[in-house]
Symmetry: C2
Subunit: 871 residues, 2 copies
Amino acid sequence: MSKLIYAFNDENSSGKDLLGGKGANLAEMTRLGLPVPDGFTITTEACNAYLASGESLTSDLLEELSDAILSLETRTGKTFSDEDNLLLVSVRSGAKFSMPGMMDTILNLGLNDENVEKLATKTSDARFAYDCYRRLLQMFGEVVYGIHMSVFDTIFESYKEENKYELDTDIPADGLKEIVEKYKEVYLEETNKTFPQSPIDQLTEAVEAVFKSWNNERARIYRDLHDIPHDLGTAVNIQEMVFGNSGDNSGTGVLFTRNPSTGEHKLYGEYLLNAQGEDVVAGIRTPQEIEVLNTQMPEVYEELVGITKNLETHYKDMQDIEFTIENGKLFILQTRNGKRTASAAVKIAYDMVQESVISKEDAIMMVDPKSIDQLLHPQFDDKALETAERISEYGLPASPGASTGMVVFSTERAKALGEAGEKVILMRPETSPEDIEGMVVAEAIVTTHGGMTSHAAVVARGMGTCCVTAVSDLKIDGENGVATYANGVLKEGDIISVNGSTGQLYLGEITKKDQEQSTEFAEFMTWAKEISRMDVRMNAETSKDINAGFEFNASGIGLVRTEHMFFQEERLIGMRRFILAQNHAERVAALDTILEYQQSDFEEIFRLSGERPVIVRLLDPPLHEFLPNTENEINNVANQLGVTTELLKSYITNLNELNPMLGHRGCRLAITYPELYEMQTEAMLKSLIKLKEEGIETNLEIMIPLIVTAEEYKTLSDKIKARAESIEAEAGVTVNYTVGVMIETPRACLTAEEIAPLADFISFGTNDLTQLTFGFSRDDAGKFIGEYVDGALIETDPFQSLDINGVGQLVKMAVEKARAHNPNYKVGVCGELGGDPRSIQFFNDIGMSYVSCSPYRVPGAMLAAAQSVVK
Amino acid sequence: MSKLIYAFNDENSSGKDLLGGKGANLAEMTRLGLPVPDGFTITTEACNAYLASGESLTSDLLEELSDAILSLETRTGKTFSDEDNLLLVSVRSGAKFSMPGMMDTILNLGLNDENVEKLATKTSDARFAYDCYRRLLQMFGEVVYGIHMSVFDTIFESYKEENKYELDTDIPADGLKEIVEKYKEVYLEETNKTFPQSPIDQLTEAVEAVFKSWNNERARIYRDLHDIPHDLGTAVNIQEMVFGNSGDNSGTGVLFTRNPSTGEHKLYGEYLLNAQGEDVVAGIRTPQEIEVLNTQMPEVYEELVGITKNLETHYKDMQDIEFTIENGKLFILQTRNGKRTASAAVKIAYDMVQESVISKEDAIMMVDPKSIDQLLHPQFDDKALETAERISEYGLPASPGASTGMVVFSTERAKALGEAGEKVILMRPETSPEDIEGMVVAEAIVTTHGGMTSHAAVVARGMGTCCVTAVSDLKIDGENGVATYANGVLKEGDIISVNGSTGQLYLGEITKKDQEQSTEFAEFMTWAKEISRMDVRMNAETSKDINAGFEFNASGIGLVRTEHMFFQEERLIGMRRFILAQNHAERVAALDTILEYQQSDFEEIFRLSGERPVIVRLLDPPLHEFLPNTENEINNVANQLGVTTELLKSYITNLNELNPMLGHRGCRLAITYPELYEMQTEAMLKSLIKLKEEGIETNLEIMIPLIVTAEEYKTLSDKIKARAESIEAEAGVTVNYTVGVMIETPRACLTAEEIAPLADFISFGTNDLTQLTFGFSRDDAGKFIGEYVDGALIETDPFQSLDINGVGQLVKMAVEKARAHNPNYKVGVCGELGGDPRSIQFFNDIGMSYVSCSPYRVPGAMLAAAQSVVK
C-alpha cells in the first residue's frame, strides 16, 4: 500500500497527480522557505480508493491520518485540546486542476463548545472565537450534512434585523453565542444529529465530505466544460488555521502578480482587514485594492512584493496568491498559476519573453488557443457608445467583450431562453456554482455584488464570457423579476448591452466595430507561425472573409465552397434551368448563363490569394436544394421558367430523397451530369488565364468532393483535366493548377492507397466523415448527442472535437496509405475540426500538411499548431 | 514477346487463360486423338495487346499469322488457292468463359470469285459452292462491316418469293450466283468497299472483328450478368472448314452427354442433314432428335456415342458437343462443359458421385449456388392446371419454372414495363443477343421458333428464367403487337402463365404450389452442410419462414427483427401511447400493453427453434415510423389516443428527421428510453422461463443494434442484464441467454477491440455498414448506382455483393480486433449479403462463424459456404 498522506515539509512528497495542485504548491512553497501555515495533504489516491470502495474510509487511511495529526501537533506545538496552544485547522479540497468554487472548504475545524471558550480566553476576544465557531457550524453544516446555507443565513440576518445591527461586525460576542446555539438546534432539526464535538470526528467527516464532493453535479459540469477527466480524484489539504479576523492588525487577501484582465505588469489584488478569505471571494464586503496595504501595513506589503517576485521567477508564470495576516504576521496560504483573459495571457507571455524569464516556446504554451477568439471579437462602436443610454455609474470590467442580449434573472430562464436560441444576459446579485449552467449559455454575466475575483468574474474569464461585476447602483429583485436602476426598471426580456472591457451597461443594442489586435498579439502570432510545422489555411469564399483570414496570416484557402456562388437570384435561374433540362445541349446552355458569374467570382478569389494556394471544391449539395419549397415560391419559379407548376412540382418530388446526406450529391452529380464540373473548370481556368495575362501568378487546387472509389475519381479528374487542357490550348496559355480529392467517406479512407496516387492532394472533410463513421446526422443527432456526452457514452461531441479513436483512426490510416509510396504526399483537413486545438494536436502528430478553418479561428488554430510542436 | 499463336497440335500449348475455353478444348481434343478439323488459336494476349494499342494489329502478330497459315497448309495439304485441295477456314471467337451467341463467327473464309468456281468444280456441286460463298458474304458483311443481317435476308427472301421457291434448298446454283452478285453490290452501297478477294485480307479483317467484338455492348452486358471480368480478352480459333452441307450424306448437330434440363443420364441433342451449324442453333429449321441418327447413320452414331463417353470421363463433367458429318465422316468441332438447369446440375452431380466419376467435393463445385433458387420456387398447382385454358398444343420446355405476367413483344417494352415494376413475359419469334436486356427483366421467355439449344433456351437456362421455345402454333405479329393462336389473339398487357417445365402456356394467372425437393437435392445439400465450415442461419420471424428455413437445415436464426412485431393494430396503439408519454411511468404503462403480445411472439419463435441459437435484435427503427402519415390517418389515430390532432401533429413534426438513417434510431432510442429494451428483455425472459418450465431448452442471443461506442454498449447491456436477472430472480428460474452487439457502423468496426470484450458475440449488419461506408442510402442510391455499375466506377452493386475492398476491409479489421484476445470469439453476418456466394467466400476466408440470410436463400448460402471450403 502506497503512502496516503504527506506533510507539507515531507522530503519525499510527490507532484500534482498525487497531491493535487494546491497540495503540491503548499509543499513546494514550504520547500521554498515561504511563510506557509503547517499541514499535510491526503492524496488523490486515497480519494479514489474511497470512491472505489463504495465510499468508506479504509483503516489504512484512518491510521495514517491519526499519525499525521500527532506529527502536526508536535511540529506546531499545538493540540486540538491545549488551552494555550489550541490547534485549529482548515480542510480544503485540491484536485490536479484548479476548479474554483467547485469543491468545498471548511475553516476553523477543531472548535467545539469547550475549545471556543479556550480560544476566547487565550485571545481575550470572545467575539472572535464565537464568530469562528458560528462560521464552522455554518460551513460544516452545509458541506458535511447538506444543510442549505440560507437556513443559517436567515437566522443570522433575522438576528441582525431584530437587534438593529447593520454590519456583521456589529454583533457582539453574546449575540454570536446566541446564534451558535440556534445553529446547533438547526443540526438537530435538519439532520437529527448533534454537531460532533470531537475534533477528530469533525476532521474525518470533513475529509469524507471533500472526497464525496468530487462527484457532485457542479464539479462534473465544470470538468466537462474544461475537458478535465472524471477519474483524477481530489486531494485534501489539512492546514493549521491562521486568523485574518483576529482584529484590525489582521486581514486576508488575494492577489495576482500581474493584471489578469490586461496583463499589465503590476500587482493586482484585493484584501480585507479583520476578515477571513471567503469574505473577499464571496464579494459580500467590497475589498480594498492591494496598493492600499502599502499605506496600512508597509512592512507586510514589502514582504509580500518580495515573495511575489520570487514566486513568478520560480514558477515562470503569473501567480494567483492567497495570503493572510495574523496579528501583523504574513502567511501565504496558496499560490497557483493565475487565470487570465486572452489578451492578458498574450501580453504576459510576450512581456515575460522580453524580460527573459521564459522562451518563445514557453510563451506559446501559456495561451489557450480556445481563448484567442476573445481577442478577435468585435467591440462596441465608439460613436454609438457616446449616445447610448447608460444604466449604471459603477460596475467592474471583470471579463472583456461586448455583448447584447435579453435580461434574465435566473439560471433556469437563461437555460430555457438560451436553448431556444435567444441571446441572454444573466443578471444576478452574485453567482454561485449552482449558476454554472446559466453562465454557460449566457452572452454576458452581470452581478451587483462581488469584485474582480468573485465567482462570477473568475468563471466568466475562464469561459471567455463577457462579465461586469459590482454594479452596486442596480438593485435586483429576482423574485419579482425586475432590476431597478437610477432612471428606470429592467424586466426579463429587455435588451441591454454589456461592455466587459469597461464595466459599463447600456440600454438596447449597440453597433459593434471590428477589433484591432495589439502589437503584442501580432508579434506573438508570428512566433506561433514560426514554431508550427503545419500550415493553417482558411475556409472562405467572400472577399471580406478572405481578407480577414489573410490578415491573420492564413497560408492560403483550404476550402472555397462553390455552392455559395449559385444561390444568388440570377444564378439560381440558370441552375434551375439546368435541373429542368432534357438533354446535354440544354444543360450546357443553362450552365452557360452561370459561367460568367462563376468566372468573375473566381477571379476575385484568385486575385486576393495570388500565389497562395486555393482549394476550390466543385459543386457538392444535392440538386433539390436549388428548387423552391413553398407553394408560393413554386408558382413564382414556374412562371419565371415558363413551365407549369405541375411540371416543376414533379421535378421537386422526383429529386426528393429520404436521406439526402447519403444521396445524389457531391461528385455523384457530376457522374450523372459531367457538364457541371466542366463548366466550373472552364470558369476557373478562364479566370486564371486572365490573371496570368495581367501578370498575376496563382496556385489553384481543384477538389472533387465525396469520392468513394478510385475509378470514380479517375473518371472525373480525367474530364476536368481534358476540359482544362482544351481551354489552355484555346487561349494558348498554360496556368498553374492541380486536381485532388476530398476524402469524406469511410470507403475513401479505406482505399486511399488506390485513390491517392491518381490525385495531386487529399483534403479530409471531417464533418461528413464523422457523420458516416458514427451514423450520426449533424442535423438530427442534436436530439440525442447531449445525452451521449452527458452520459459519457462518447468522449466529446465528435462534431466539435475529433473522435480520435474512430474517425481519427480512419484519417490516420488514409494518411499512411497515401504516403506509403510518397512520404511527402500533401494531405490536409478542411472540416471545422481544423479549428479545434485537441484535433489539431492529433493532425500534427499524424503528419498532416495543413489544417483549414473559418477565418476567425485561424489564429487559434495557428497557436494550437505551434503548441502541438512544442508538446 | 511471348508466342501469340498456337497450332491445335502444338505440344507446348497452354490453358484457357491464353487459348480461351474453345481453343484449349480444341487442343485438348486433338491431343486426345479425336477427329477434330485442324487449325490454330490466336491467344487472348494478342487480343488484349490489340485493344490496348488502340486497335491495331501488331507486326509480330501478322508475321506469326502468316507462318501459322503456311504451316496449316502444309499439315492439311490444302492451300487458299489450290484447285484440288482448296483450304477454307472458320474464324471463331473463344473467351476463357463460354459466352453463347455473344461473340461472332465467320464460316467458309477463303472463298472468293475464283475459289468458288474451284470448289464447284472439285465437288461437282456449284449450288453448294455458291451457297457457301453467299453465306460467307453474309456473315462477313455483318461481322466485319456491320451491315445489318436483314439487308441480306431481304434480298434472299425476295429472290425466293419472286421465283416461288419455298425452301432455301430449292434455290438452284444460278440463283445463288445471282444472289451473290447482289450481295456484293450491298458491300459497295453500304460501305463503299468491295468484298476483299484475298483470303489473307479476309482473315486479318475477320480476326480484328473478333477482337473488337469483345467490347461490344451485348458482350459487356453478358459479362456483367455473369460476373465475368472485362479484361480477359478473347482468343480466336482458325480452323479448316468441313461441310455439313455437302449433301444428304453430310450434316451437323449439337448434343449434351446428359439431359441439361432434367439431368437424366441419356444423350440429348439435335442434328440436321445437309446443313451447317448455325442452321441448328438459330432454330429456323426444326432439327431431328439425336436418336434418329442411329437409324440414318448407325456407324457415325456409334462412333459419336463412344466419343461422348470418353469425353465425360476425361472432363469429369457433362459435355456440350458440336459435330459435323462430311460425306459420312464424323468431325468433332467443339466440346465444353454443358450449361444446365439447377435441378439437372444437382442430379448430374449426384449421379456422377454414385457412378464414382467424381468426389463429393467435385459435386459441390458443379452447382452454381445462385441457381439453387430455381429449385425452391413454387410450381403451378396441379388442380389449377387441369381447368386452365391452354394457348398452344406445342412448345418445348426449354428452362423450368412457373411464371405469370403480361405479354410484351419487344425488348424495349419488356424493359420499360419491367423497370416500372410489372412482371412481363417476353414473346418473340426467336431471340438474338440484342434481346439480352429484355430477357434479363422478363419473368419468362416464349419463342415460336428454335429448339432446346436455341439462343433463347440457352440464355434463359443460364439466368434461371422460365422459358418455352418452338411454340409453332402461335403466330407473332410484332409490328402490330399481337400474337394469334388457335382460339384467339394475345395483345400486349394480356396476362398469361408459362410452365417452363412442361412447355405449356395458359391464359391468365394460375395459382402455385410449394416446390417439393428431390431426394437427390436433399442428399446433395447434406454433403454441402458436411463440407461447410461456417454455419448458415436464417433471418426470419414468422412461423412460416422459420419452418421453411429449418426445413432447409438452417443452423438457427441469425436475425429476428422485432420491429415487425410492433406494427399490428393493437400493438401500434401501445407504441403510439409510448411515443406520446410524458414520463417514465406513462412510458412503462404504454409498453406494458405490448409486453404480452411480444411475449407470445417470442414464445412461438423459441418453441420452433428449441436449442438452436436465435438472435433477437432489439427495436431498431426510428419512432416516426410508428406514427401515421396522411391527414385522415392522423385524425383517426388522434381520436383513438384521445388527443387533439394538433398535438399528434406536433409529435410527428418533432420526430421528423432530415436523414432518418443517421438519426434517432437503433440503440440510440434505448439510451433515451431505456424502458423499450427493458420491456423487450422482460418479454423474452418470461417466454424462455415458460418454455423451460415446459421442459424445452432454448438458446437466446439478444442483440443490440447500431452501436458506436463501447460505453454505449456497456450501458445498455448492463440494463438488459439487470432486468433479465431480476426476472429470473422473481421466477426463481435461470435461463440460457447471451447479449451481443450488432456492428453496422464504421466506428464500431474501428473500435471492435473495445466493444467485443464486453459482448458475447458480434453480428455484422452489412446493409447499414455498406450505406455508411459509401455514404449511399439504399433508398436513394437507386438513382445513380446503375451508372456506377455500368461505368465500372464500382466493381459490383455493394448492396448485392460485398464491397470487399472497402466494407470487407472494415469487417475483416473488426473480426481481427475482436479475435485478438479470443481466437474463438463468435462473429457472424446477418445482412442479406449473407446469401450472396461471392460475399460468403470472403466471409469464410476471414473466419466468420456463420452467415444468415432469408430462408429461401439458405440452401444457396450453404452450398456457397461449402464451395468456399473446397476452393
